[in-house]
């Protein structure tokens, strides 16, 4: 048990530490591959020199302008989504309850589209994304009734909310920006093309703000996983913990969407991979964040070097793979009789 005063207490699981270290190594390897593969790539042997700031002009340009920011945004967005998914799945006690599955990503996308196109300069895009995600959450919660517990209902409501959000986005694109339509279209499926350090600063800033808050409620969330009654009996205040976790999850999702668009299924899969690899009970927040970062960096790497050209939004790639995974997950869940 890792303790920091009375507020912060983190159960530490030895295998989790090992897994996290291993995943970090993989993440560094994937990051190095992202920077060095392909035309214009910085050769691996030159990488330390260039990162240290002593590279030639072309190399520095590739690192500072082309691939560095994109990599930073990919890792930060993946971490935010992994964390958001872990929080959400844990407090709804539902492996399928994930921000992207229930339409939060699509809602944030619609909010971002409105902020960017209908109210340019008046409402910052991240704030629009946050509003969209919050509204989507509210609609899902209303449609499912009081609890977010029933997995099937949660997802079906999410399908409805996502459909409405897509309709809003399509409407905004059709009305406001015919010439920008194809750029926006890519954005609406989640893209990491042409990112700058400002995008990286936004997403890493939000992640940095969220991590201490996650640490504060991590203990309460772990207690929550045992069920509301038990959590309340242990002084856990299940409802307020759930509200806090879901709010954090909404903020993280909105931040991810505002820098990269709604990237599908990372929030769904990262926490589950974390749980599977560590074998640890509980939400596995830190590992989920690292897995999320690794997933998105790898997905972006695959998209950049896919034969049908980059420019393809990375969200489509995760959507295709994540869809297959969701199918597997559904069959497993209803074999167990959970659905």
């Amino acid at each position: 048990m890792f303790r920091l005063g009375r507020a912060v207490a983190l159960p530490v699981h030895p295998r989790s530490l090992l897994v996290a270290a291993l995943l970090l190594v993989l993440l560094v390897a994937a990051a190095a591959a992202t920077l060095s593969l392909g035309r214009l790539g910085i050769p691996l042997t030159r990488l330390p020199t260039v990162v240290a700031g002593a590279g030639e002009a072309t190399e520095t340009f590739v690192l500072d302008r082309l691939r560095g920011p994109r990599l930073a945004v990919a890792a930060g967005t993946g971490a935010a989504l992994g964390l958001a998914g872990a929080l959400f799945q844990s407090v709804t006690r539902n492996p399928l309850g994930s921000p992207d599955v229930i339409g939060l990503g699509a809602g944030a996308g619609a909010g971002a589209a409105i902020a960017a196109l209908v109210l340019p300069g008046i409402v910052p895009v991240p704030l629009g994304a946050l509003g969209g995600a919050a509204l989507a959450m509210l609609i899902v919660a209303t449609a499912t009734g009081t609890g977010l517990r029933h997995p099937g209902r949660l997802i079906v409501a999410g399908i409805g909310v996502a459909a409405m959000a897509h309709a809003v986005s399509e409407f905004v694109v059709a009305v406001m920006a015919r010439d920008q339509a194809s750029v926006l279209h890519a954005y609406l499926y989640g893209s990491l093309g042409a990112r700058s350090w400002e995008h990286a600063a936004v997403i890493w800033g939000v992640v940095a703000l969220a991590v201490p808050l996650v640490l504060v409620i991590a203990g309460a969330i772990a207690v929550n996983e045992m069920g509301d009654e038990l959590a309340d009996a242990l002084g856990g205040r299940a409802r307020s913990t759930r509200t806090a976790a879901i709010s954090l999850s909404v903020v993280l999702t909105a931040a991810a969407v505002s820098v990269a668009g709604p990237i599908a299924f990372v929030a769904l899969t990262a926490p589950q991979i974390a749980r599977r690899t560590t074998g640890a009970p509980g939400p596995n927040m830190a590992v989920a964040a690292v897995v999320g970062a690794l997933l998105l960096v790898l997905a972006d790497l695959a998209v950049q070097h896919s034969p049908i050209g980059d420019g393809l939004p990375v969200g489509l790639f995760t959507m295709a793979l994540g869809g297959v995974y969701l199918g597997y997950l559904l069959i497993r869940e209803w074999r167990r009789g959970n659905l």
Partner: protein, 321 residues
Amino acid sequence: MIGAGAAALTGAVLLSLVLGSKPTTPLEVWRVLTGDADGFTATVVESRYPRTVLGIVAGAALALSGTLMQGVTRNPLADPGLLGVNAGAAAAVVTATAVLGPTSVTATVWWALPGAVLAGLAAHAVGSRGGDGGMVRLVLAGAVVSAVLTAYVQALGLTFPDVFDSYRHWVVGSLAGRDFDVVASVLPVVAVGAALGLAVSGGLNALALGEEAAVATGANTAWVRSGGLVAATVLAAGATAAAGPIAFVGLAVPHVVRALVGVDFRVQVPFALLAGPTLLLVADVVARTVVRPTELMVGVVTAFVGAPVLLYAVRRMRETT
């Protein structure tokens, strides 16, 4: 009640002829219909004939498809769009376009049909794995099939932007820019589906009582079930081929119809055949007037109408599951 439905459809047809990016008056439309108008007005109004007819055909097909699906599966969430049929049709059409180059809308029908049927079968296969299909399983399976196929369709669309320029409007569902050839090419498909659907719809009342009671009443449940699903898929595929993947009409109409005329399928089916075209035509009128002078795709409007119905259905599920 059927009279009111017919009146609503007539009104919707009139609206569809009168309103558009160039608004006309009912009087002008009357003059065009009687061959007594100036050339310009006649051209404007006549350009609205094909989309109105297409709206009637596609709306009726989708509504009947949804009614059959919800009746057969006894699942208030069943909808051709949600079950992946639309995505299947879209995937088949983009594949054909990518391989063979841009084809006529008429040709897309023959690609959309097998794609729709295959995707529907895939969703059923996933949804019925590991035991009896529950209320939400088919929808979830459909969501999976749709997610994978949508990613594929979008990826192809973004990779070959020139080829897919014309197709972009088809993919969100639109009644615009179709001529009578399109209607004519899907009409046989829709007619076969509708005939089969009407033939089995009498058995849906028995099926609604549950498997054992239905068998006890002497109903041939296997025939009603398989015939109903085949008809629903064929109808959805025909409508999708002609108008693009229009979601939620098949979901929303049966709910509205049930609320208005009750649970007897002998009344529901004819009423759905009136309500579907009414909904689709009104949605299309909204789509082409709300952002004048440009047009919105009708699929966007039906999502606004249909998604709340889905959310309402989810809320109602609380009592049954």
